[in-house]
């Protein structure tokens, strides 16, 4: 603190820096990069990112769209969490005892009247069941749709919300905002968790995550299809069950059925195996406990998007389908889905595809582009996106790759010609930037003319004399020219 010309004190720079570091350490702002923009659908809307700190929300970021609106929650402002959408979304994940403690403290500190606790509890329970919260702001005639953000330990660290004039939030707008805000919160949570997984050891992290959530992947699958139903007021035990994220076991116990029956009833594909009275009981129990398809919670439980983006020059090139199939078979086995983009080896299309994959959430990339000097691959690796190259390498050797032994292949082909006595072969280089550089003259490929001449020195010398008068090379050139002039030309070497 610095002494202010005799009248008191003002904040010193180290204190401000410390505050900045504390905010930065949560990684919340970084995890939200690019997401707030997408939440704003109309000029009058804006999006907020709030961090929950001791019962208060601190606004970390705000996107005001194209039209400045008279809202007062500027970045850095603190507000009692129970009065804001972001704050209530985060509070809905705490036990109500803690909520009450926070509310009491905030009200005492700011000498404001306490809210109606019953009303607040009902609102938080609904928010918890729905995975989002539509509420009137403490600002006059403003409304927001908020969803909670979780960190790797399963704690709600804040909320994200689009907000705007209350009049524009019709039922249709609320429904659409609901899915985009739960998606956004899920993505931010996934990024936060990925970020912490970078420095924590993943297995321990996962265990912690799953223990805190009290849920297993199987439960998530089962619960994914349940539409949230509005239940009546819940007792404190139900609230507690909801707070620690009800498991399949909780649902089965409440419905008085076996866990396997509950699982069948909750899974749409096996639901027909359960009789209707039983199904009704299980669904009611699931709704009562808030065992619903909350996207941010689901993302939290699986911790990662569990998807891989595959970048291919052109899937119609017949070499790629078997590669894709092989990759997908393994990925499916390991719980990942596979997304494919054709890039035509165009850097712009490649960049757009990567961005599209990242915005929807992928854990990593497999790339099969055919260029040797590939800035995109280097950028991706530089930005820390897990990447494996398939059927190709680039200059940077620290990027993992899976390739065939092309050099040996060329050696085999030349040896075959030598055996047949046709070693007067004509080869050419299809494209200088390509690998495999399938040419006997490429010094790097190991299948140099020397290799062939070692096998049969005379054979290579006769090759140097050239082929017969009709000339293989000219035929080859003409075919290359024709191919590249066709509208859909495949990369000459893949």
């Amino acid at each position: 603190m610095l002494e202010d010309s005799g009248n008191g004190y003002q904040l010193g720079p180290p204190l401000l820096e410390l505050a900045g570091q504390i905010i930065e350490r949560t990684g919340l702002i970084r995890a939200t990069e690019g997401i707030l923009d997408r939440l704003v659908r109309a000029p009058e809307q804006e999006a907020h990112l709030g961090q929950l700190t001791q019962g208060r929300v601190v606004y970390l970021d705000r996107n005001a769209g194209t039209c400045k609106v008279p809202m007062h929650n500027r970045v850095g402002r603190r507000a009692p969490a129970h009065l804001t959408g972001c704050g209530k979304a985060a509070l809905s994940c705490l036990s109500f005892d803690k909520v009450v403690a926070h509310v009491d403290r905030c009200c005492a500190e700011s000498s404001t009247p306490p809210p109606d606790l019953d009303e607040l509890e009902a609102e938080l329970i609904r928010a918890r069941q729905d995975g989002f919260l539509a509420s009137r702001s403490f600002e006059k005639d403003r409304m927001s749709i908020a969803a909670a953000i979780f960190d790797a330990s399963g704690h709600a660290v804040g909320g994200v919300s689009p907000a705007g004039p209350a009049t524009m939030f019709t039922a249709a707008v609320v429904a659409s905002a609901r899915s985009s805000v739960t998606n956004a919160a899920g993505l931010i949570s996934a990024r936060l968790i990925n970020e912490s997984a970078r420095w924590a050891s993943p297995p321990a992290d996962c265990k912690l995550l799953h223990r805190n959530c009290g849920i297993r992947a199987r439960d998530v699958e089962a619960g994914a299809e349940i539409a949230p139903e509005m239940g009546g007021p819940l007792g404190s035990s139900a609230y507690a069950a909801a707070v620690r994220r009800a498991t399949l076991k909780d649902v089965a116990a409440r419905a008085g059925v076996h866990v396997a029956t509950a699982s069948r009833a909750l899974n749409e594909t096996s639901r027909h195996l359960v009789n209707s009275a039983m199904l009704d009981r299980v669904l009611r129990a699931a709704a009562d406990l808030g065992y619903s398809g909350n996207l941010s919670a689901r993302t939290l439980r699986t911790a990662r998007p569990m998807a891989i983006g595959m970048l291919l020059p052109d899937l119609t090139n017949p070499i790629f389908p078997p590669i894709v199939r092989g990759a997908e078979d393994i990925l499916r086995e390991r719980g990942y889905s596979t997304w494919i983009a054709n890039t035509d080896d165009d850097p712009k299309i490649t960049a757009a595809s990567i961005e599209a994959f990242l915005s929807r959430g992928v854990d990593g990339f497999i790339s099969a582009g055919s260029r040797l000097h590939d800035d995109t691959a280097e950028q991706m690796a530089g930005q820390g996106h897990p990447l494996v190259l398939v059927n190709r390498t680039v200059d940077r050797r620290d990027i993992p790759s899976v390739t065939a032994d092309d050099d040996h292949g060329i050696r085999l082909a030349l040896s075959h010609f030598v055996e047949l006595g046709t070693a007067r072969s004509s080869t050419w280089r299809a494209r200088k930037t390509c690998r495999p550089a399938c040419t006997a003259s490429a010094p790097s490929c190991g299948a140099s003319p020397t290799t062939a001449s070692t096998a049969n020195p005379n054979a290579w010398r006769s090759a140097k004399r050239g082929r017969n008068a009709r000339g293989t090379v000219s035929s080859v050139d003409s075919c290359v020219t024709r191919r590249s002039s066709s509208p859909r030309s495949w990369p000459e070497t893949t």
């Binding site: 620290d398 292949g409 075959h416």
Partner: protein, 94 residues
């Protein structure tokens, strides 16, 4: 010897246009052994790369990297083989 099987197929066409036949006048070896190269005429002699396994190994490598980020970058080279079909023949005595 062509950079891949599709180029080799282009060579088939070019030879035909010039009134030549493969492998009577020119022997051709493709590369990759893409699907159906055993059904073209003549069935293509080519270098087989294990395409399906390339995909499998790439996916394994990526998932292993994701699940054990501390391990360093690792690259894999898979073996290839010559598939001797009908597009190559001994040199004619002329």
């Amino acid at each position: 010897m062509a950079g891949n099987d599709l180029i080799a197929l282009g060579c088939y066409d070019a030879l035909r246009e010039h009134g030549m036949t493969c492998p009577h006048d020119v022997s051709i070896i493709g590369f990759n052994d893409t699907p159906f190269m055993d059904h073209v005429s003549p069935p293509m002699t080519t270098i087989r790369i294990p395409q399906y396994d390339l995909g499998r190994e790439a996916a394994k490598l990526l998932v292993d990297n994701l699940e054990n980020p501390e391990q360093g970058p690792r690259s894999i080279v898979l073996p290839v083989e010559l598939v001797n079909r009908r597009s190559t023949a001994p040199l004619r005595a002329n």
